[in-house]
Amino acid sequence: MQLTHQQIQFFHKESYIAVGPLVDESKTQQLKNTFSQLQRQWAQEQGESLEDYCRVLSQWTNLWKQHLLFEAQIHHANITAIARQLLGVSEIQLFHDHLISKPPVHSKAVPWHQDYAFWPVDKPRALSAWLALDDVTEKSGCLEFLPGAHLDGEQAPQDFLGSDKDWGERQTEVRKVPVPAGWVIFHNCLSWHMTAPNQTHQERCAFICIYMDANCHWKPNHSEWHPTNDQVSVAPGECFNMDEFPLIQSEGIGYEL
């Protein structure tokens, strides 16, 4: 799949672009069903009721290691082709995936932030492919961006527990980006983004793959803490080990599921 020149320009200027549908309804449903099965399995393993498990936990990292369906998803041909085009490179590597389930009613806002400031990666040559597994509306906490703010470069990491980022007059430029299930929002790792609380009675699930230029290197002192550091087996300054940070093949890897 090839984006148009205008679409690529839009991404570089605004820091994000929504493209879709890239995943059909049956596949998004399959991903959700598989995730629900995994949740039941994990709850059982923890000795918790499913209700308590789902009430407490809301983010799962590296599902590609948990189930073949998610492993296939990180290699999705069209999504990864677009990621290559937007990063302008031929080889990309998965930094990590994660599924975020914004629970209904009692979820909180995720404040304005740039992702890259939290990553142990040496250069901001990465993007997130944010696949909506549910229809995402303004009320359920869609992504919001301040277009163009990424061009000011990397800022200090925001404290999610006490962020008071105020855009002042630029607040009017903020764009809310609701998308139907199956659409993907690609956003630059320096994009400024947030999500509001989910005020609906349905969960709001998104499966997010972070792709980086395969020439990025591990730089642990770029961030205070990151859960993927435990999976790194190379020295600082080297490319990430491919067993835990898989190289994404250019034409997909032909999973039969």
Binding site: W42, D52, V56, S58, Q59, W60, T61, Q66, P227
Partner: protein, 387 residues
Amino acid sequence: MSFKISMFSGSTDLDEALTLLAQTAMGLPRDCKTLTLEQAHEYYCSEAGYNQLLQTAKRFQINPLLKLQQLDRLFRDELLSRKALRTHAARNVYNSGKVALWQALWTPFKDKLLPNQALLQAMADFIALNTVQSGVNWLVQQLESMGFAIKHLTNNKHSPILFAHRAAMGMQGHVVLYGHYDTVKPQSERWDTDPLQLTVKSNRLYGCGIGDNKGPLAVRLQTIANLDKTPALTWIIQGEEEIGSPFAHQQFPSLLQGLNATLWLEETGYQDDDGTQRVLARVIGNEGNLPPDRFLWTLIESLAQDAALWNVGYRVESRSLNKDFFENGCPFNKQLPTGARYLAIGINDPRSGIHKPNESIPAWTIRLHQRQLVTVFDWVNRIAPGE
């Protein structure tokens, strides 16, 4: 630099806070290892532990606390979150479970058990100054803003001695405080942190001079600055203690003999490893130390009541603070006039490592010392009129 909760799942801030609170509420040894969350859960959610927590809250006039069942739920949620992170890389996004536990259990006690941000900043500012002149200037600014009149005793060869005095403010009596603003030169390469930058780590504060003597000075300065009433105060602060106090040995004989004080307060004091407060108290006799007199014992009993709030005991020794690093000893202790009542209490402990790399103090002693300073002034006010 602060005692804030971190947004990162890998941080140990909650565990450290709950350990400090358990030490205070349940009498765990002050030198115990940081509790795991599982251990903290067992302590706080046992019937005995929860009752001790309630009693501690009552002592510090904190209420209401969560019910045991609610507290247990919060612990279980956070334990689940941590276990899920370990077993299958799942977590409570942005630590809302950790925040809930922090807010419910730690936030009500935080300001009772840890120094406030203004004091941390004052300590950080003072520790960052590494020249005689900058240290003197900082102290003069602090003291003058509190209404002290300051004499600079100096000559070309020596670092100045500050002789600061403030008349009584609504209280009787007179307290002489001693301190010094010089520090040993830090061997930065042997420190784990920048010695000139105040660092908070595992419920301790690190920095060059944090125990000897910039930390105690900053704590006392901020405490006194926030009091409406105090006895008359004379504060003698020298700048050559770390090289043997040559100028103070010249000046103190005449300086101290001219003072008539209800109490003479040493530069700092210590708690034992387990938290027991070491109270050094004595009366200067014609031929050496005498035990505390009946007045001083009433002060010691009040100080013990303060220590009990923090769940620590106390012991009394009738001697001076040990600092015989130089042949002539401490000029302050040497020149105390006959009949002087001497007290050494403070914020240090055996791990403070005075003059060594990674000098530090335990954070919990600061609030206790601040409270005990108030107790000291109240006592001076009570006994001074009868003398």
